[in-house]
């Protein structure tokens, strides 16, 4: 699920390092790389064009344009290619399983419960009420789903009986 990287090529390493500095506009604790939205990075052999393809987390996500712009600006700063093109693709669906282990930890430490793994859930239709989502603050598993829809398209609202706090979780999708 993690995008292919070519570790030998030096510019590739610089590109991925730069991408790792671009935060998600809605949850800045996580980078676009750890969020798993980078589908493909392609540097033309003559270095005329650097193309990056993004997989939107949700089709209607208003943050995607900001993400696209921020990536374009950051990569242009590298001066590796004459032109930087950042495009969206639906060639494969972004799923919450694309979030890296590091990304999951970044979500948790900033107060967002990471999404349950889809492979543990079975069919997507069985979501999300049957899943235990541990509280990101106290770790209690005594939590209940309050609303599968939250302040942004990708977030759900839970309540923790352990620390009696509401919290947000990234939706499994």
């Amino acid at each position: 699920m993690i995008p292919q990287r070519t570790p030998s090529a030096e510019p590739e390493a610089a590109i991925w390092a730069a991408l790792a500095e671009v935060p998600d506009p809605e949850i800045p604790a996580i980078s676009v790389v750890d969020l798993g939205v980078i589908h493909r990075v392609e540097l033309a052999a003559d270095r005329s064009t650097l193309r990056v393809e993004l997989l939107p987390t949700f089709i209607g996500c208003p943050a995607i344009e900001m993400m696209r712009e921020a990536i374009g600006v950051r990569l242009a700063e590298l001066g590796i290619a004459e032109r930087v093109e950042v495009t969206l693709t639906f060639a494969e669906p972004w799923t919450s399983d694309r979030i890296t282990p590091t990304g999951r930890e970044q979500l948790r430490s900033s107060g967002f419960a990471p999404p349950p793994h889809l492979r543990q859930l079975g069919a997507l239709g069985e979501l999300p009420t049957l899943t235990v989502v541990p509280c990101p603050y106290c770790g209690s598993r005594q939590t209940t789903l309050e609303n599968p829809f939250g302040p942004t398209l990708c977030r759900a609202i839970y309540h923790c009986a352990g620390c009696r706090q509401p919290f947000e979780a990234f939706k499994p999708i």
Binding site: P56, I59, G60, F90, P93, G125, N147, F149, P151
Partner: protein, 255 residues
Amino acid sequence: MTDLDTATGEALAELLLTLADDEFVLGFWDSEWTGIAPMLEEDVATSSIAQDEIGHAKAWYELLAELTDDDADRIAYGREPEGYRHAALMNHPRTDWAFTVARRFLYETADAVRLEALSRSSHPGIAGLAAKMRREETYHLLHWSAWMRRLADGPDSRPRLVTALERLGPDAETIFTPLAGEAALVSAGILPDGLATLRAAWHERMATELRGLGLPVPSGDAPPPTEGRTRRTDEFRWLWGEFTSVARADPGATW
């Protein structure tokens, strides 16, 4: 998919326009609940679902704009009310909560059947989008099915729900109104199943759920009328006035 003959290309454009307009108009009707839904959590949920639908519409309009060398915003906001191709189901205003739930249930079940077929499309752009949409729509289906169960049980809500289903049933059929160039789309594998086949699959699915709740099942004996996607109402003209007001205030403005 680059070498479509003219007839297939035109049919594809028509299909994309129907998909986009359904989601666009329904998204706007449901956004009318923002701030006044029955409870706060529902306000958040309905608004979020409406935002999803507008996002889906945008994606379909962009695919269409690419095909016809047009602009997605122009297509979305630059037509007269008569130029829209949403199903007659989306001509109705928001009305009461039971009416909204009934419409969402009829639409979501139909859309689920349609997206399943489109995810098998020979057109990679359509197949990719449909596959992604199906994941998002799973949440919508769960949400509206839960509301159907809730309202079907209430002594006050049940009659309202039954009335709404009876009123909306015939118009829900128009989601599957045959398209002019449908045969070409089916033979190219762009639309893997014809709309009549999809309508039958939808009926089966919807009827099973409604029977389980002891609710009347729309008969569906009559095929959808040919003007199912061209008939417009004053209620829709009012909504059109609302959702185009900003675009019309300063045509061609850059935002």
